[in-house]
Amino acid sequence: MPVWLDLIVRVVAVVAAFLVLPLVVGQAEHKVMAHMQGRLGPMYAGAFHGWAQLVADGVKFVQKEDVTPGEADRRVFRLAPIVALFPYLLVLLVIPLGPNGLVAQALDVGLFFVLAVLGVGVLAVLMSAWASANKYSLLGGLRGAAQLLGYELPLVLAAASVAMAAGTLSLPGIVEAWRPWWLLWQAPAAIVFFIAGLAEIRRPPFDMPIADSELVFGYMTEYTGLRFAFFLLAEYVGIVVIAALTTVLFLGGWHGPFADQLGWLWTLVKIFAVSFVIIWFRVSYPRLREDQLQRLCWLVLVPVALGQLVLTTVVKVIM
């Protein structure tokens, strides 16, 4: 296969996953949340159990007027949704789907790259918050900044633990080195990573920056139409990305029966299972207060992650 064709196939595959997986997760969220609340959820769009609801939403968002507030910092305001969305696209590039190089771009420093790119998210929050020239946006953005900066630490520490255990920063390498007993050994790191990841994508119960009951819609208050849709898409891609990272780092990625043939399926199944848990958490738990949020991060997650690092080191040195 010539290089250019190979490149096109990989890029198209990643873009397709980028556009399809979030819609599937979003639709699942509609339906799962509805049934968890004793409702049916969307039933009309697409005739069969509302399968096309998100497509219909997308069409609606395209038709809406694209409003930019008069006082807004126009260029920053318009750039922010792209900045929110783009890092997740890049992250999807390096997430391995299956064994034998079934990954868009195998990076030796994959984990480092992922964590660095995910850190850009806080920039989008601050950009949209400041550029909107709206007090709710600003409050939401500052809350978001505090939250994202805080939770970055346990996220990185938990990821570092598994990287130390595997002895590599490459994501396929980590999955390769993964053994089932790591589920137990790395369990605290997995939980810390998952919770910190939830906070990173600002999902309930960590949706303090959005907090629609007190801040209208946080940093997204002033956004309409397609730009708002980008933010929503970023949220769903965020679910996919955090689920995929949790899968790859802690749940063994493609490992499972017939991993050589069905590895990609195992990865997808695990991603959707973790996504389901993310949705489940949203339905079950109320929003954390700002001080509870920070307390959880600094007094629980960071110490646990540090303890896990020590544990990983000890086990690594002994074995």
Binding site: V32, A34, H35, M36, Q37, G38, R39, L40, M43, W280, F281, V283, S284, Y285
Partner: protein
């Protein structure tokens, strides 16, 4: 974590929360898909009031008892010449019978007081209008609802025979045989009751109507 100072295992509440939502997800949802799926209404639901025009004698009881005065009745008298009778008789003819459902509070008092079963509840409820004036149903519209009146509940086979049946039986047995009719009825009636209940239920009003109307005539 807990309000009452009682602290169970840490995280117990979190797990319970997850359990509740998961359990709810596995149960059937309570959503009614109304326009697509007809609701299952209880029998004898109070949807709209139907009028059996031929049963109405314009006695005005319903209009007078109506708490919010939403029944409008007009009538005139007609001479009926009965062959062989000494004088011609007078009969009330219903000109107008309107129920204003924008005022009606669905108390059902009109139906309760009607001595001749001219008014009935029906479970139909889809008669919303865009103009409030269209909620004034005239006697033709009220008459159309009669098709939707559910059959009355079957008579309790172990209960006393209905008033109408008892009267008919007494008449059939002739004068002075009232006690005999009472003792003779149940064995005859009971085995046939399930089969007989069906046709009787299908046309409750038509059957009752002649009987009710005949009585005053024969009485006079």
């Amino acid at each position: 974590m807990s309000d009452d100072g009682e602290r169970g295992m840490p995280g117990k509440g979190l797990v319970q929360g997850l359990a509740v939502t998961l359990k709810t997800m596995t149960q059937r949802s309570t959503t009614q898909q109304y326009p697509d799926v007809e609701p299952e209404l209880p029998p004898r639901s109070r949807g709209v009031i139907a009028l059996s025009e031929e049963n109405c004698t314009v006695c005005m009881l319903c209009a007078r008892e109506c708490p919010d005065w939403c029944i409008y009745i007009d009538s005139h008298k007609e001479e009926v010449v009965v062959p062989g009778a000494a004088r011609s008789r007078q009969r009330n003819v219903l000109d107008r019978f309107d129920i204003d459902f924008s005022l009606c509070m669905y108390c059902g008092i009109c139906i309760e007081v009607c001595p001749f079963d001219a008014l009935h509840w029906t479970p139909e409820f889809e008669y919303a209008e865009t103009d409030v004036l269209d909620l004034l149903h005239d006697k033709d519209r009220l008459g159309e609802w009669m098709r939707t009146v559910p059959p009355p509940p079957a008579h309790d086979v172990l209960g006393e025979p209905s008033k109408e049946e008892a009267t008919a039986a007494r008449k059939a047995a002739g004068p002075g045989a009232a006690t005999a009719a009472k003792t003779a009825r149940p064995p005859v009636r009971r085995p046939a009751a399930p089969a007989a209940a069906e046709p009787a239920a299908a046309e409750p009003v038509e059957k009752a109507a002649p009987a009710e109307k005949d009585e005053p005539e024969t009485g006079r």
